[in-house]
Amino acid sequence: MSDALLEVNNMKKHFHLAGNQTLKAVDGVTFHIKRGETFGLVGESGCGKSTAGRTIIGLYDATEGQVLFDGQDISRLKGKGLKQYSRKIQMVFQDPYASLNPRMTIANIIAEGMDIHGLHRGKARMERVHSLLEAVGLNQEHANRFPHEFSGGQRQRIGIARALAIEPEFIIADEPISALDVSVQAQVVNLFKKLQRELGLTYLFIAHDLAMVKHISDRIGVMYLGKLVEVTTSEMLYSNPQHPYTQSLLSAIPIPDPDVERRRERILLKGEVPSPLAPPSGCPFRTRCPHAMDVCAERMPEMKETEPGHHVACHLYE
């Protein structure tokens, strides 16, 4: 797959907890992201989205499997190669309040990465900061202020400017809008889209608001208890969801239109998400799945391509 900027092959991240317990936060996920594409990752709280993002960026070492960036295995990177990788890939975090150092000026927050990598020194430094502020819809005067003087949406823009400062190719955005008001979410999402058009960026966009993920993503991966259960384009995921979990997820999301809501039938799931410390045998979804069969308890279904570009891990399609 030559057009893939990022390839994730059977990536696992297990945490070893006290009492000899193993928590399989990410348990064998495989997907790729093409250059210039936005790949959305959705799923319920605790299913392993953030852990997947953190393992890709190298904050965690993968327990098993491979992450290839531009064809290179990131676990083999050392010295200069590693430094280069850390320049090309940046992360934007959920909480715009906690992720900015309150004692640093906006200029120093944005330029921190540039300083570390020795980019844009001297006079060019402030020029770069000013142009980044403008790119994210803030202005030059904001450079010498402190984070507490900004609203949530503005802080998230500062976080994005900081991520852009060292000219990354790939941005992992972990719930970048969840903490924002609806009217402000739209500002930030539009900004992500604009920057992608202008700079050709590639995104991994993590969120649990599926309507927003569908709006911004080209393709989407649906996770459940550490596993990917369905991967396809945004259109196909919505028009032809195949995994029973995806189907119930889509049907559970209320649509802001009373007429549509009056006509809609929901697939209500029973029970709660099982603990990742004691995942069910076989298919992780089988304890809540309306279609579960005997085989579902026996073995984990494999990811199958059911139509071009549409991958599903479910025994109904084997």
């Binding site: 609806v182 945004s234 559970a252 649509i255 802001p256 799931l269």
Partner: protein
Amino acid sequence: MSGNLLEVRDLQVSFRTYVGEIQSVRGVTFSVKKGEVLAIVGESGCGKSVTAQTIMRLNPSPPSVIKYGSILFEGKDGVVDITKMSDKQMESIRGAEMGMIFQDPMTALNPTMTIGKQITEGLLKHQGLSKNEANKQAVEMLKLVGISNPEGRMDQYPHELSGGMRQRVMIAMALSCRPKLLIADEPTTALDVTIQAQIIELMKSLQEKTGASIILITHDLGVVAEMAERVAVMYAGMVVEQGTVDEIFYNSQHPYTWGLHRSVPRLDSNSSEELVPIPGTPPDLFAPPKGCPFAARCPYAMSICTEEMPEQFTVSGEHSAACWLLHPDAPKVERPAIAGGIRA
């Protein structure tokens, strides 16, 4: 009260802080009919929770002060004005006649007390049941909210339950005394969508069974479309538009309501459509503007908008909006096409 369970009239609530007075609620008027679900929507900080907490009188005073207005409630002993109740009187209304569900169940549940003890406490206090009867009814309530093995759960502590289960326990607690009014402040915001769908279904079916009225506070217009019969849209401490759910979604009149609708993507629409954000931020409630609070962000603002507060114009029946565009002399503006209209 003509069919109304609750009437909030020109309510004004402020917080006195050392830097000045925050005018959190600035003249809010709405009513809740018997057996209906009224949704309150609006941006963070617009006064939704303060309004709800004032109805329950949960805001400590000081720092909060009810500066003006009345809250009429039709209780067991006839219509009372909540703003004039003593703390003691409030205690018998809270829990017995009004119940509240919070966004974060941990703020309402006591971490050191078993689930059973917490539910039976209210039943013993308000319903005068014996310990045995209270236990039986608590188990019954847990069953009703869909908790499996309710007898076993009675002896567990809140931290032993998942988020969705805690939310159910809180609903069971709030409903155990069969209140006439249930206030749900972002009851599903912290939950995953599949669990949210379960909780919404549960609230709907319990409401049908008990005939309680619900005030539902949320920022999710999807949840509003699914649950509410009427909607009040709040902005900067005021209700800027209210009406039936159809009026607010298909015939909204206030530019802020239009902005809200256009800034959220829909699962069932094309992603190529740009979202239209509302530029800027809401006004500072320390020094709110004298004119329309939305004027600084409103693309239609006229000179009068910054000068004078718009009155509540009646659109039809109970549909009203506080916007100068509704004045007969105002220029006619076209409602943006996708604002609440059906996009297919």
